[in-house]
């Protein structure tokens, strides 16, 4: 039994106790700092890009520098923020507690995952000393084999980070299979856990393919042998197949956990049982499976066969179905609920609006006839920012504010939290709606300059991005400040949630539970 007043944060002191911890909760706090740190850095590059694009003439970057900045922005955000994002940060904290366990199945492996993320990120960032990389985060061949930039370093860093992701997924799968508390059947697990389950399946099956593909680029550059080299008869489009075989499930790795957060927040802040528990649970698995069937929709204009294009187009339409199922169920949960518009709920409502737009524009892109015109334009850029930023990242912030009191034992400033969330919503839409429009009119992506006819849209988008940046800076500031200065609370359940983490001490003790609970009912029994 632990002494009163001790929790997982104060039970051991000193930086070494953190760097060698195998407590999933401490590891999640370490991810908190690293992921938010990378987020701010990636956001800085975004602001640099948007500022450069304020005018069509070069302002402080030439074409090559622009390419490096946009590659870094993409690589940072994808590999260092949103892929690890919710699973590593929130999943690590919540999963064991939500299933009634003392830790994940492999706590030391969990710590290794963190070190792999840091190590891989540092290797990738080292490339900055050589000027960075200009290939785009997608590293398409043949250019990535030939580019004079530090491709090997970034690609190898991404490989290491991929290992981190695989380890996390593996850990979560075994935890969910083996460490659930007595009485917790799969159908009594919280929906956040279901989302992490589906995500982990994708992490384990898809990431290795990216791993080998990245290694093949390294082999091409270091040993001069190329499996994608057209001079030898190799097919550069095969690179794209391998790359997107991972990278499409990757976008669901990024967004499905956010959907899990939304399920939790919507239920708690409507004080109502989630509508369609089974549908939401199985739709997560459905998305995970279908996500492996659609990768070629990134390649409609690559030269792949019409047959493949058709197959991919039809299958991509299919993936909208389980997603829509979730959105309908969430809305039905809100209906006649006792809705409280606290900060986590505002972020979640943001998610609903933004992700719907993102998802629907994805359907536009799924139609080959449309995609042929808007591929590689700002339409695509806006689409994926709606899903990744408006969706995944918004879900991350919703979860961060939601579980903040439990994780830290303090409460953040509610008024300021709401302001930040609203500021982000306004800034985000102001940034990206103009991008949909100019994309549909032909503005290409990854261009550092543009025709004057697009100037108003770029200007509007850039001003929007400053509001967005202010909102996010504020949102992160509140979290970090109130982690140390926020009003201390001892309330085990400040939000009135029904999942197991709200039965533990705030913050939890090292072992999570004084006694492992026995679960007798489903997780959302409100009235």
């Amino acid at each position: 039994m632990s002494t009163p007043g001790t929790n997982y944060i104060n039970c051991e002191k000193g930086i070494w106790s953190w760097l060698t911890t195998i407590d999933h909760k401490r590891i999640s706090l370490m991810y908190f700092y690293t992921i938010l740190g990378f987020f701010l850095l990636g956001g800085l590059f975004a602001i640099l890009l948007r500022t450069e694009l304020l005018t069509a003439e070069p302002m402080f970057m030439n074409g090559n520098q622009y390419n490096r900045a946009m590659t870094l922005h993409g690589s940072l955000m994808v590999f260092m923020v949103i892929v690890p994002g919710i699973p590593a940060l929130l999943g690590n904290f919540c999963l064991p507690i939500m299933v009634g366990a003392k830790d994940v199945a492999f706590p030391k492996l969990n710590l290794l995952s963190w070190y792999l993320l840091i190590g891989g990120a540092l290797i990738a960032m080292l490339s900055l000393f050589w000027g960075g990389v200009d290939t785009g985060w997608t590293f398409y061949t043949p250019y990535s084999s030939k580019s004079a930039d530090a491709v090997t370093m970034v690609v190898f860093g991404a490989f290491i980070m991929g290992l981190s992701s695989i380890m996390t997924g593996l850990n979560f799968l075994v935890t969910i299979h083996k460490l659930r508390a007595p009485g917790m059947t799969m159908m009594r697990m919280p929906l956040f856990v279901w989302s992490l389950y589906a995500t982990a399946i994708m992490q384990v099956l898809a990431s290795p393919v990216l791993g080998i593909t990245l290694l093949l680029i390294v082999a091409e550059r270091v040993f001069g042998i190329g499996i994608f080299d057209p001079n030898l008869g190799g097919d550069p489009v095969l690179f794209q197949h391998f790359f997107w075989f991972y990278s499409h499930p990757a976008v669901y790795i990024m967004v499905v956990p956010a959907m899990g957060v939304v399920s939790e927040v919507i239920s708690t802040f409507s004080q109502k049982t989630i509508f369609g528990y089974k549908a939401i649970a199985f739709s997560s698995l459905g998305i995970a499976f279908i996500s492996f069937l659609v990768w070629g929709h990134h390649m409609f204009v690559s030269g792949q066969s019409d047959l493949a294009g058709t197959i991919f187009s039809v299958l991509t339409m299919l993936v909208g179905v389980p997603t829509a199922i979730k959105i309908f169920n969430w809305i039905a949960t809100l209906y006649k609920g006792r809705i409280k518009l606290d900060t986590p709920m505002i972020w979640t409502l943001n998610f609903l609006a933004n992700f719907t737009i993102g998802g629907v524009t994805g359907l536009f892109l799924a139609a080959v006839a449309v995609d042929v015109h808007v591929h590689d334009t700002y339409f695509v850029v806006a689409h994926f920012h709606y899903t990744m930023l408006g969706g995944a990242l918004t879900g991350l912030f919703s979860g961060l504010y939601y579980w903040f009191p439990k994780m830290t034992g303090r409460m953040y400033n509610e008024t300021q939290g709401r302001i930040a969330a609203v500021l982000v919503f306004i800034g985000f839409n102001a940034t990206f709606i103009p991008q949909f429009i100019m994309g549909s009119q032909g503005m290409p992506r990854r261009y550092h300059t543009y025709d004057g006819v697009f100037a108003p849209y770029h200007m509007a988008s850039t001003f929007g991005s400053y509001i967005l940046a202010a909102g996010f800076l504020f949102a992160v500031y509140i979290l970090v400040r109130d982690m140390f200065k926020g009003e201390k609370i001892e309330d085990k359940n400040p939000w009135g949630g029904t999942t197991l983490e709200w039965t533990t001490q705030t913050p939890p003790i090292h072992e999570n539970f004084e006694e492992i609970p026995t679960v007798t009912g489903s997780p959302y029994e409100y009235r």
């Binding site: 039970c11 051991e12 060698t20 911890t21 195998i22 407590d23 366990a101 003392k102 830790d103 994940v104 199945a105 492999f106 706590p107 492996l109 695989i166 593996l170 850990n171 799968l173 075994v174 299979h177 083996k178 460490l179 384990v204 099956l205 898809a206 990431s207 290795p208 393919v209 791993g211 080998i212 593909t213 290694l215 093949l216 082999a219 040993f223 001069g224 042998i225 190329g226 499996i227 080299d229 030898l232 008869g233 190799g234 097919d235 095969l238 391998f242 075989f245 090292h510 072992e511």
Partner: protein
């Protein structure tokens, strides 16, 4: 507090309920990792099949340049090493740390033998100008995509060879633990886990050998 050393031979780690649960979890984790290995090599096998379909003549020419007898020898060596590894697991399950150590040593010797054969194969290829990198390719090919075949050959067998090396490192780790009698009838997870890894490495070669050497 989280690093209290537990004697796994008789007890389970604190976040598990029983030794059985911990053992099954470790095994499942290992199988998941094996699934990732299959996915990783799977992409390479895909490339092999796709390119073979396109450049059949080069694949025939390439296959003929590989010594199938050496390949078959290596296959039998690896199968034998899988046999000794399975026996090592068996002995550990019976509580015989020392006998298991003996079998792990046999397995390691086989692994080294495999690598020795590969060394001779590789140096032979390089000597004949068949290493497909820019400065080292000087073979007079009959078919235009022979060099691509050699790319696939070196990448696939090279990655497989790296896995053999990793396996050897794991064997040495096991040898140290077996020597210290760290396993028991009720705790042999690490031995079984390394065994699973080693069998997967063998399994990959089971497919790789006919595809590279015999087709």
């Amino acid at each position: 507090m989280s690093t209290v050393k537990v004697d796994r031979r008789v007890d389970h780690s604190h976040h598990f309920e029983s030794m059985q649960q911990e053992h099954e979890s470790g095994k499942q984790g290992t199988w998941l990792f094996m699934a990732t290995e299959v996915m990783m090599f799977g992409a390479l096998f895909t490339a092999y099949f796709l390119y073979r379909g396109k450049y059949f003549e080069s694949w025939v020419e390439g296959g003929a340049l590989l010594d199938w007898k050496l390949g078959a020898l290596n296959t039998v060596v690896l199968l034998f090493s899988s046999f000794t590894m399975a026996l090592a697991v068996r002995e550990t399950q019976l509580g015989h740390n020392r006998k298991a150590l003996k079998y792990v040593i046999f397995t390691t010797v086989c692994a080294f033998a495999f690598l020795v054969v590969k060394y001779f194969e590789y140096t032979g290829k390089i000597h004949h100008g068949l290493f497909p990198s820019e400065g080292m390719w000087s073979y007079d090919a009959q078919t235009p995509q022979l060099r691509l075949f050699m790319v696939v050959y070196f990448i696939m067998t090279g990655l497989h060879g790296i896995h053999i090396l990793i396996g050897i490192a794991l064997m040495f780790w096991l040898m140290k633990r077996l020597k210290n009698e760290e396993f028991s009838k009720d705790y042999y997870t690490a031995v079984e886990g390394v065994g699973l890894y080693w069998h997967i490495v063998d399994l990959i070669w089971i497919y790789l050998f006919p595809l590279m050497y015999l087709m």
